[in-house]
């Protein structure tokens, strides 16, 4: 079936909306309006086109009815009475007046009251131009002020955290910020103090608003009371342009509006994508655009000359790169070339690079993961879940990193489900995490032994009542109770600790999949587009479209001309091979193995051993500095494309600014290198790449350029088609829910701007049966048999995880975030600290076979006895210097340092 139509979306089935048993009809201003029982009047009216003004109501939070702006007349037993539309649920036959004289008078009154103490310093207020108070005053408010008195005064803006400033004079006491902090972020660090007209938002003494989600309060504040330091005074809304895009800082893939002014990114705002981020973002994702704007960006190609990296032209750099690769390929064979990285790339880039590596160069030693993930085949083979499915499950088993630190908005979503719908979360973890407080049961176990915990958990006899891997028997029994008889289980699966090998969680995952055949898995791999990179084949043993190398050999052989003869190496194997000369040429695709690979020494040895390194990067990093050719890449917001989040959801990347200097998108670099390696990748535009992906990648069948451009695709398209349970049509942007997005929109910028479509060449599908998607039997759960032997009495077994603010390049180059990275330290159970004769705050020497260094120790009851927790990569160091990735676990010893600290 060659040349099947490329716009075939037959597989894409939007589920029929079931007839709504809860449907009610109400009457708004004489018009019948359909609504759902229990829905708030304000929302029902809005859907029917009647916009009721509001300040405190936010569709993603519980109503409080405080501002009184939404008063409408609702008919009750004693006739019409003023009621807050944000608080009154609809009822069959309800009669509502939104335009009566009484309603207008009340709304005018509320606006006038709000302005009574408002400083009206609009000309110097960041919100000026996109201010709901300003806008609604113009639409609904009185003409001029009758207020002659002295206004309320407060000290003008006070810093309530390192990122957020509060101007209490501008505050209209809507409690959006305080509710967000409490209800959604779970960080109730801001609250009202005082009462009456002295009511103010503030922090508690000596406790700043240090929340990973603080930027959301700035976004939803309906006035200019809350401002964020990275944006303060940088731009006026009417000078901003915006494009809809996706945050790729982590794999949640929050849908965002990228706003710019004069070719500089000025801010990101979260867009309300119902299945994903529901308008929220984390502060790292929100503010690390500063790195994109950074002066330190690579803006031109560099080549090594006399030991120094010096600028050159693209032509020269590409020729040098191609020549180096070609030489190795000729002398040592294609397997001597390896590609590390790619999880930072867009889907199209990843596909182009996979094709370049596997079809043109001919190597399968390609790995988008830096040894800090899970085996690609396992990730691709497990039945996938969406975030909504996880939040709506009967139980969630969390086997991964601390989501609050690594996938913050996923944490937010799951936390909300745990708090609001009492979603039982069973955490299989090595230390307490941000989720522990909300988990039904936390099974805190010894590093390396997750599989034993899973076996005990899923033991059908359920008899095991003794401790397993350090987990008390009663906790296991409690977890078994939670899981007894539940139908829909979702496992959130990632890499719990970098100080143990990936084999441990992989074994546990396979055990879970076996014990719960109906379970679905939500990936908790963190790097921006890691899922897209794996889908596109940037891993050993796989080809684009979630198929195995062997299963896809014929199909891709016909389409591409060739595929590697045998399975290649993963990141760890590549680094080892490079250290001992089996790999001679290394391509770093936005990869920084020295800082990201769990075992720093192995990464250094690998890079030092490579004869020839090409780095494609946005910055000169510790790793790319070692390259022979450095090719400057465009980053997020500088190039269009698509990306795939941890659900397998494909969303758009928008371009808002041009890359610095002559930096290029990665796919173009692949194409140009291909040409110099003697092959035409046959892709001139992104649309062509997407056509080819659609034609060849089985998991992406039907996900056409056209489908991605439809309104329905605004919330993304989950691959493969037809899987996601529901894709409700996205709501229009409400300027009150998300001030700043709608306002900029008024200035004529489209939210979704597909890149200009050039003429596309036709991609044909090869003859024959397409390969089947990877499924579990194809994947192995990682090698290694059983649990590691327990540590000796003098050692502690290490757990290493990332902090949201760490030593990452994007944090380091974002001035507003860089200072938030906490210094490294080691956390130990108080009992062990005592046992070792140490005190909280002591500087201790931490030694492992790999090396040793000195850090402060802290007592932490969240760390179990016998274990120790360290951050993986803070700016001042981290566990990567202690970890030997060839070992299944990492044991450390602690001793006091005399005469220091």
């Amino acid at each position: 079936m060659a040349g099947a139509p490329l716009t075939d979306t037959r597989d894409y089935q939007r589920p029929e909306a079931a007839p709504d048993a809860d449907a009610v009809t109400i009457n708004v201003d004489g018009r019948p309006v359909q609504a759902r029982k229990g829905e708030l009047l304000i929302a029902a009216a809005e859907r029917a086109g009647t916009y009721i003004p509001r300040f405190c109501y936010h569709p993603r939070m519980k109503p409080v009815g405080m501002c009184r702006m939404c008063l409408v007349e609702v008919k009750g037993p004693r006739g019409f009475a003023l009621q807050p539309a944000c608080f009154v649920p609809v009822e069959e036959g309800q009669e509502v007046l939104t335009q009566s004289d009484k309603v207008r008078k009340a709304q005018d009154g509320v606006l006038e009251f709000l302005l009574v103490n408002h400083p009206l310093d609009c000309p110097v207020c960041d919100k000026g131009g996109e201010c709901p108070l300003q806008d609604q005053t113009i639409s609904f408010g009185p003409g001029e002020s009758r207020f002659l008195e002295e206004k309320r005064h407060f000290e003008k803006p006070i810093a309530i955290s390192e990122l957020v400033y509060l101007d209490r004079e501008r505050c209209i006491q809507c409690s959006r910020c305080t509710r967000f902090a409490d209800e959604l972020a779970g960080d109730p660090l801001i609250d009202f103090i005082g009462r009456g007209d002295q009511l103010e938002v503030n922090t508690y003494p000596d406790a700043p608003f240090a929340s990973y989600f603080s930027g959301n309060t700035v976004q939803i504040c309906p006035v200019g009371a809350l401002t964020a330091s990275p944006y303060r005074f940088r731009a006026r809304p009417w000078d901003l342009e915006q494009v809809e895009s996706t945050c790729t800082t982590c794999a949640v893939g929050c849908v965002v509006s990228v706003q710019s002014s004069a070719n500089r990114i000025t801010r990101y705002l979260g867009i309300d994508s119902d299945p994903v981020n529901q308008s929220w973002m984390c502060d790292r994702g929100r503010f690390d655009f500063e790195a994109v704007n950074s002066e330190d960006r690579l803006s031109q190609p560099l080549i090594r000359r006399d030991g120094q990296l010096v600028p050159t032209t693209w032509g020269d750099a590409l020729s040098r790169a191609a020549a180096g690769i070609e030489e190795v390929r000729k002398l040592h064979g294609p397997a001597a070339v390896a590609v590390l990285g790619g999880a930072r790339l867009a889907n199209e880039d990843a596909y182009a690079w996979a094709k370049l590596a596997k079809a043109v160069i001919g190597t399968d030693s390609v790995d988008a993961q830096m040894g800090d993930g899970l085996p690609a085949e396992l990730v691709l083979a497990l039945p996938q879940a969406t975030i909504d499915e996880a939040c709506g499950a009967d139980a969630v088993i969390l086997l991964g990193p601390d989501l609050k630190e690594e996938l913050p908005v996923l944490h937010l979503r799951l936390r909300q489900a745990a708090v609001e719908r009492k979603l039982p979360i069973i955490e299989i973890t090595q230390t307490a995490t941000g989720m522990t407080r909300h988990a039904a049961v936390s099974l805190i176990h010894r590093p390396g032994e997750a599989a034993s915990v899973v076996r005990a958990l899923t033991d059908p006899s359920g008899a095991a009542s003794s401790d397993v891997a350090g987990v008390p028997g009663p906790s296991l029994a409690a977890a078994r109770d939670v899981l007894a008889g539940v139908a829909r289980v979702v496992v959130v699966l990632g890499r719990p600790s970098l100080a143990e090998s990936a084999a441990a969680p992989a074994r546990a995952a396979v055990a879970l999949a076996t014990a719960f055949p109906q379970a679905r898995f939500l990936s908790a791999l963190r790097r921006g587009n890691v899922r897209g990179a794996l889908d596109m084949g940037l891993a050993p043993g796989v080809l684009p479209g979630r198929v195995g190398l062997n299963q896809g050999r014929d199909w891709f052989g016909r389409a591409w001309g060739q595929v590697p003869p045998e399975r290649g190496l993963d990141a760890s194997g590549i680094l080892d091979a490079s250290a001992d000369g089996r790999v001679q040429a290394l391509v770093l695709l936005g990869a920084n193995p020295i800082e990201d690979f769990p075992d720093r020494r192995r990464a250094e040895q690998g890079l030092d051993g490579a004869g020839f390194i090409v780095a494609v990067d946005g910055f000169l990093t510790e790793s790319s500095q070692k390259a022979d050719v450095v090719l400057p890449a465009a980053l997020y917001s500088e190039r269009p494309g698509t990306t795939t989040n941890l659900e397998g959801r494909i969303t758009r990347l928008g371009q808002k600014v041009v890359p610095p200097g002559v930096a290029w998108p990665d796919w173009m670099i692949a194409v140009e290198l291909g040409v110099r390696l003697g092959s035409d990748l046959e892709m001139d535009t992104l649309a062509e790449i997407r056509d080819e992906i659609e034609a060849l990648a089985v998991s992406h069948r039907g996900i056409t350029e056209e489908l991605l451009n439809t309104a329905a695709a605004r919330d993304g398209i989950v691959a493969p088609l037809g899987r996601a349970t529901s894709e409700p049509a996205p709501a229009a942007i409400d300027p009150m829910s998300d001030p700043g997005i709608g306002a900029v929109e008024h200035h004529g910028v489209k939210a979704t701007a597909p890149e200009p479509g050039a003429r596309r060449r036709l991609v044909t599908r090869p003859e024959g049966q397409p390969p089947a998607l990877l499924s579990l039997p194809d994947a192995e759960g990682g090698s290694g048999s059983g649990d590691p032997a327990p540590p000796d009495a003098y050692s502690l077994r290490l757990v290493a995880g990332r902090k949201l603010y760490d030593g990452a390049v994007s944090v380091r180059h974002s001035p507003s975030l860089a200072g938030l990275a906490a210094p490294a330290g080691i956390r130990v159970n108080p009992y062990d600290l005592d046992r070792l004769g140490l005190h909280s705050g002591d500087r201790v020497r931490i030694s492992a076979p790999r090396g040793s260094f000195v850090l402060p120790a802290a007592a932490d009851p969240g760390v179990p006895r016998g274990s120790a927790w360290m951050p993986f990569s803070q700016p001042d160091g981290g566990a990567s210097r202690l970890i030997d990735s060839a070992e299944s676990v990492t044991d450390v010893r602690l001793e006091t340092v005399q005469g220091e600290g």
Binding site: A81, G109, Q198
Partner: protein, 438 residues
């Protein structure tokens, strides 16, 4: 005949110095009502209370029997006694708490039995230091007597009670703010609907909130029967009530008198009650029912102390306070003082009350200080209208509100009444640039 001849439903022990002690209490029929109630079914107790026709004494004036019947059936039900009395010039609960705390505890337990509460909270204004001490002592005594706790008086009914001091906010007297406060949160009133305490109250469980005086009446009602209580007063206002009389009268104080039959004139001028004005003074205005009530003038002296009659006259009996103002009082200053109270006590949650209270107070202070403009009066009335739509003079009862709780609509009455009754006095302030009473 004296107005004080009516049965003393709640103040019978006040004549004794040791009225607050357990010995006085038990020697004067203490716990009889509770013992008797426990021999009845809860429904029978509730039926007696319903038959008594008693209207809540906390200010909102809702029939107690009806309130109890609205309690949502649930395994957990709370009873909260509202002793937060903080309305200016209202001091009758203060007396009941301090002078007969045992009766309060007994009444609360009767109510608890009737509504089958699982826990009782006695929320007492924090500033009532002596009262708090005595209620706590009375409760401790009740535990020792077996009147509270497990298996009360061997009846098989068990309920616990605790005393909870308020933390100094008037707004916590509003029942929903009180519940928030009991839950350890800020005293922000809840939005009604849906947060009617009887349906969704303390910790979201069904809850009855009753005033101190209301429950203090229950022992008498059970001992004498609902009908005996209903025989007092008139069907529109049964029983007796404690009026806290204050202001420019010879004999200010708490007076328990029959409802409905006496008039304001009786309360103020009867020699055994207010004893009239000071010599040579004339009556200017009365603030009935607390500072949230619309004022009445001398022309209304013959209005009966009856809930319905007073509502028909456009105001309320409210908290049971009556403040008398004679011709030495500046009406602008009086209105300003009242508005200052609401400004300070607004919880700040909703815009019209938070901002309106301050704005009104600012204007009144300015007028009183001599910097008023003629326009100010129109602005004042319109601000009041934006807090309490269609507020007018002559006044209507009950008021409407744009706010969450009734504190908002408590702001306009003093403003609207004083302007309605004494516009000329405002004009003198404005024209002369100062207060003629200074």
């Amino acid at each position: 005949m004296s107005f004080l001849d009516a049965p003393r439903v709640v103040t019978s022990r006040f004549e004794h110095e040791d009225s607050h002690t357990l010995s006085r209490f038990v020697s004067t029929g203490g716990y009889d009502g509770l013992r008797r109630a426990l021999t009845m079914t809860p429904e029978e107790v509730a039926a007696q209370v319903d038959a008594s026709g008693i209207i809540g004494r906390g200010g909102a004036g809702f029939p107690t029997g009806r309130k109890w019947s609205m309690l949502r059936p649930a395994p957990v039900r709370y009873l909260v006694i509202n002793g937060d009395e903080s309305e200016p010039a209202t001091f009758k609960d203060h007396a009941l708490v301090t002078r007969d705390p045992n009766q309060l505890v007994e009444g609360a337990l009767i109510a608890a039995y009737a509504v089958q509460a699982t826990q009782v909270f006695l929320y007492v204004r924090g500033e009532f230091a002596l009262g708090l001490e005595r209620v706590q002592a009375a409760l401790n005594d009740a535990y020792r007597q077996g009147a509270v706790g497990r298996d009360i008086f061997g009846s098989g009914f068990s309920v616990d009670a605790i005393v909870h001091p308020g933390a100094g906010a008037y707004i916590c007297g509003d029942e929903t703010a009180l519940l928030e406060s009991l839950e350890g949160k800020r005293g922000f009133p809840r939005v009604k609907p849906p947060y009617y305490p009887a349906v969704t109250g303390l910790y979201r469980e069904p809850t009855i909130v009753n005033n101190v005086e209301t429950v203090s009446s229950l022992p008498w009602i059970i001992n004498h029967g609902g009908a005996a209580f209903a025989a007092l007063g008139a069907p529109t206002s049964t029983g007796t009530r404690v009026f806290a009389l204050a202001g420019d009268v010879m004999r200010p104080g708490n007076y328990e008198i029959e409802l409905s039959k006496p008039t304001f004139r009786d309360l103020i001028f009867a020699p055994e009650l207010g004893g009239g004005l000071r010599p040579g003074r004339s009556l200017k205005a009365i603030v009935p029912g607390g500072t949230s009530a619309f004022w009445i003038g001398p022309d209304r002296l013959d209005l009966h102390l009856d809930q319905k009659a007073v509502a028909d006259a456009g105001t309320m009996l409210g908290s049971g306070s009556v403040v008398v103002m004679d011709d030495t009082q500046c009406m602008v200053r009086a209105a300003w003082r009242i508005s200052r109270f609401y400004r300070r006590e607004s919880c700040g949650q909703c815009t019209p009350c938070r901002e309106g209270s301050g704005w009104v107070e600012n204007i009144l202070r300015r007028i009183e200080a001599g910097s008023g403009h003629e326009d100010d009066l129109g602005v004042l009335l319109d601000i009041c209208d934006n807090i309490s739509p269609e507020v007018s003079w002559p006044s209507k009862w009950p008021p409407q509100q744009t706010t969450i709780c009734p504190l908002g609509p408590s702001i306009p009455p003093a403003v609207v009444s004083s302007i309605g009754m004494f516009r000329d006095e405002y004009m003198v302030h404005i024209k002369d640039g100062g207060c003629p009473f200074d």
